[in-house]
Symmetry: C2
Subunit: 209 residues, 2 copies
């Protein structure tokens, strides 16, 4: 005869009594947000599941109720970012009348995103190599499509410059715009947006030395 006596005592949790009926899937978003900030600061492998749980008030493996694993979390994060950039870019470009307006629209998109989600931007161009293979291809494809969007607009605006040069110039502009995490708080957001826009336009308008 086997008797198992369970003496576990569950004391009432002393949290701030969140309404248990929060928006469906709001917890997922909360986790993604906290994880993005941690990944941006210490890198994917430098952050533990326990860290992420702690950042949202739960401890540890509660995360597995919302994501199938750590890599899946990163995959979803990067897929969401590259999809948002690509689709909003495409929409704004097709709405625009002429290449000039299209470039302005692309700049607005990227600047607005970089300023309001610095952690996501940081993770987006650092951690692609840590995404497992099925999702990595999709992310890379979206990133490539987004880049080509910029290149086609630019090659209409500045004919006579090679595709390779425009691709390199676009990467450089991405680097310029995504520098926001490094200069956080130097300027108020509106001034920062204007500064970045002006610098990017000037940089793109100048071929060679």
């Amino acid at each position: 005869m086997l008797v198992i006596i369970n003496v576990t005592v569950y004391h009432r949790k002393v949290t701030t009594a969140q309404p248990a009926t929060r928006n469906r899937g709001s917890r997922r978003a909360e986790i993604l947000d906290a994880a993005a900030k941690l990944f941006a600061a210490r890198g994917f492998h430098g952050v533990s599941i326990e860290d992420i749980g702690g950042a949202v008030g739960t401890s540890g493996p509660a995360l597995y109720r919302h994501f199938s694993g750590k890599e899946a979390l990163l995959s979803e994060m990067l897929l969401d970012v590259s999809e948002r950039l690509h689709t909003s870019g495409t929409r704004r470009v097709t709405e625009a009348a002429g290449a000039e307006q299209a470039l302005n629209a692309l700049l607005s998109c990227q600047i607005e995103f970089a300023l309001s989600h610095p952690a996501l931007i940081t993770v987006h161009d650092r951690e692609l190599d840590n995404v497992p293979e099925p999702a990595r291809r999709r992310i890379r494809r979206l990133q490539r499509l987004y880049l080509e969007e910029w290149v086609t607009v630019l090659s209409e605006l500045y004919p006579g410059r090679s595709q390779a040069e425009l691709r390199a110039a676009t990467h450089a502009v991405f680097g310029l715009l995504n520098s926001t995490p490094h200069s956080a708080g130097e300027l108020p957001p509106a001034a920062m947006a204007e500064l970045l826009r002006g610098m990017a336009r000037a940089a793109l308008a100048t071929p060679k030395g």
Copy 2:
């Protein structure tokens, strides 16, 4: 009575018979170089000691003959980079006649470094948070001094623009110039250098929108 019989058989290693008398400290540099590439690709915590050893032909803990640990390796790597940037920047600026030439010198330094050591540049602005505390302060100090070097030159060149704006602009230019790892191979190095220089100069010369 305790008898220990050691039956380990050491078979001759089948390597390419490197001359055992290589340059003093050349192994350290080799390890630093390999580690930089690995860190740039997968992040500090995503690379194991075994990986680094494997990349230089030795296996695993041989690394501890040259560095006191993994973090010490990273510390030395980042300290070296920030020192090289800062001192070469300072030298070239004091040699220059006038702010115009000084800015050109700073641009040359940074571009040359970014083009010839893309992995180091990548690690340098990603992994600072993984450096243990005694060294981190020194690195941050050097980075700050280097930034201020740029800002003083720029504020002489463009008076009437606030320090904060110039700091943000400098960060943006760093982001632009350090984009080289992303656009590797798009253009031949000389053309890339000229493109980056032109874009950076134009971006800096343009205040606000």
